[in-house]
């Protein structure tokens, strides 16, 4: 039980006029020190909501209805707000998808980092400022002393994301949650940001929860991967294991749909048929069954539970037998 952060049975529902949206419906995972867990899935599967739920940043009409979030001996889902605020930004930090929108346009970059420091540490403004400039240097902002006093609109997207990382690291958190940190950036910058995160992780040993829909990214950046679909985790293992032995049909579909250099020309890119279900009305039984090429009659009735099919590799599919995917069984 030396997991740094463990989420157990997290259920976050949204109570709208039209009905209840079960965005996260019984999600469980754990992250260890110094490791990166990637939470992967299509848009609408609930991965961002899961990430936000960890720090209880979900806005009404959404709220956590069940589950535990165990961290440093406390259950973050139930501690009082005042206590939680000491965790936010200090022990667990978060960075978001659109850096330009995620920083306040009327305060300088230095000001916002200093704010992150002084909220949790009793230091003088000067000390905080010098730490902020050190952080900016560490994340690779050139001419950090000068640029620190500029406003966010003067930075490019990639630079701003580095600023956000610097701000997140200000209090040396044990966990960094990164919600699609590179989706809004171009390809080269994406790689740079991911490398930066890896470096920082090696230096400090912090755990990273990486939310993304981009499987190719995961191969580069993560150690473990959890695949989410329709509010539930459907497969969980190390990255290498997943790429070599995908078990769940959904994972098969995701991997198959990655465009590959050198693939034979003239073949259409395989896609998963159908669309993501409406989160207010999930299908009965296995939530993936309407789109599953390997489905059987019982898939529409029984809900699969996550079970360990291979060493350190859990999957939630009724048709996985003896560690073999139903997709392979079909041939």
């Amino acid at each position: 039980m030396n997991a740094l952060l463990e989420v157990r049975g997290l259920k976050t529902y949204f109570f709208a006029e039209s009905g209840v949206v079960k965005a996260a419906d019984g999600v469980s995972f754990a992250i260890d020190r110094g490791r990166t867990l990637a939470l992967v899935g299509e848009s609408g599967c609930g991965k961002s909501v899961t990430a936000l739920s960890i720090l209880r940043l979900v806005e009404p009409p959404g709220r956590i209805v069940a589950g535990e979030i165990l961290f440093e001996g406390r259950d973050l889902a139930s501690i009082p707000e005042k206590e939680l605020r000491c965790v936010r930004g200090d022990r667990i930090a978060m960075i978001f998808q659109e850096p330009m929108a995620s920083l306040n346009p009327v305060y300088t970059v230095e000001g916002q980092i200093v704010e992150a420091i002084r909220v949790h540490r009793r230091v003088s403004r000067r000390a905080a400022r010098s730490r902020a400039i050190d952080l900016l240097k560490r994340v690779g902002i050139p001419a950090a002393e000068n640029r620190a006093d500029e406003y966010p609109h003067r930075f490019s997207g990639g630079m701003l994301q580095r600023v956000m990382i610097a701000m997140a690291l200000a209090c040396e958190p044990a966990v960094l949650i990164a919600d699609e940190p590179t989706t809004a950036l171009d390809g080269t910058t994406q790689a740079q940001i991911l490398d930066l995160l890896k470096e920082l992780q090696e230096e400090s040993g912090m755990a990273i929860l990486l939310i993304t829909h981009n499987l190719a990214l995961v191969a580069e950046a993560a150690h473990e991967i959890a695949v989410m679909y329709a509010g539930k985790i459907v497969e969980r293992s190390s990255v290498r294991e997943l790429f070599e032995h995908p078990l769940h049909p959904y994972t098969h579909g995701l991997l198959g749909s990655i465009p590959r250099l050198g693939a034979p020309k003239g073949r259409t890119l395989p896609a998963i048929t159908g669309t993501v279900p409406d989160p207010a009305r999930y299908p009965a039984g296995c939530r993936f069954h309407p789109r599953c090429p390997a489905k059987e009659a019982r898939c529409a009735v029984d809900e699969p539970l996550l079970e360990e099919a291979r060493p350190d590799h859990t999957v939630g599919c009724l048709l996985v037998e003896g560690g073999v995917s139903p997709m392979e069984a079909r041939g």
Binding site: L55, L57, R85, C86, V87, R88, G89, D90, A93, M94, F96, E98, A101, S102, L103, N104, P105, V106, Y107, E115, A116, V119, H120, E150, Y151, H153, R154, M164, M167
Partner: protein, 331 residues
Amino acid sequence: MLQHLLRRLLLGLFTLVLITITVYGLIRSMPGNPLTLLEGGDPMGIANPGVRTVFYREMEKEMGLDRHWLVGYFNWLGDLARGDLGRSLQDRSPVSAAIGARIGPTFLLSGTSLALAFLLSIPLGIYCGARSGRLPERAISTFLYMLFSLPSFVAALYLLILFSVELKWLPLRGMHSSDEALASMSAAGRSWDLIKHMVLPVACSTYASLAYYVRFIRANLQEAIRQDYIRTARAKGLGEAAVVVKHAFRNTLIPLATLLGLTLAHLMSGSVILERIFNWPGMGLLFFEAIGRRDYPVIMGLTLSFSVLVLLGNLLADLLYALVDPRIRFS
């Protein structure tokens, strides 16, 4: 940014010319002029009819009423360039002096009103924005909305009946008590007297702006709170108060700054009615009286003054906007 301000200034000057030329042209091209109006009585007190006709003909020439109106306008412009706004038709006193004497009281009223509205609306607006949807906020907002729909002159009359006529707590009209009464008062007594006379006019002048400001701040605050950078601020561990005031409200200041400048114009127009009701010796009352007796030089002078003030107000709004939004200041 300087360029932008210069352009606005030029546009404003052009507007001034247009307004004054329109008013002057309309005044001159309509049937009837001050002399025909004066013809009814003998306000100049000239007994001999023969002398009267000669005198009026001289006045006509002096006023430029015998030439084409465009010529008259340019004459007026020429005089204006020399700082001469002409003389009042009623008592031949210089218009600039008359206006100068009246500016003080009008500014006292408008300035106090503006300051009060601004100071009171900020906390109220923040409260309504942050606690929006709850019952006390809904009640306050609805009440303010109704207040906004109440015309200032109706409110003035109601308040006058209640406080001046029935309760006799406050004076009925004017800026201070009679001169004999004033002479016997100490400096403190005179200030108190002024305040007593100011209460009702300022109250009537303020409440409408207050209602509007609160609604404005509330709407903009709700908009600001929806932004991504608020989520970042919460994720850093900031308390709700700091999030609302330091981050959300600071962004609301940007549109609020423009509102300040524009309210000046509104206060100007409101002053006409209110000064009439309370017999407050300001520019609005002078305008009203001048209209009644068709005192064209005074009307022209006041129209110019009002328009200049509005122009200055708009420029001020632009300036404040640039100051408050770093994206404009440093671009």
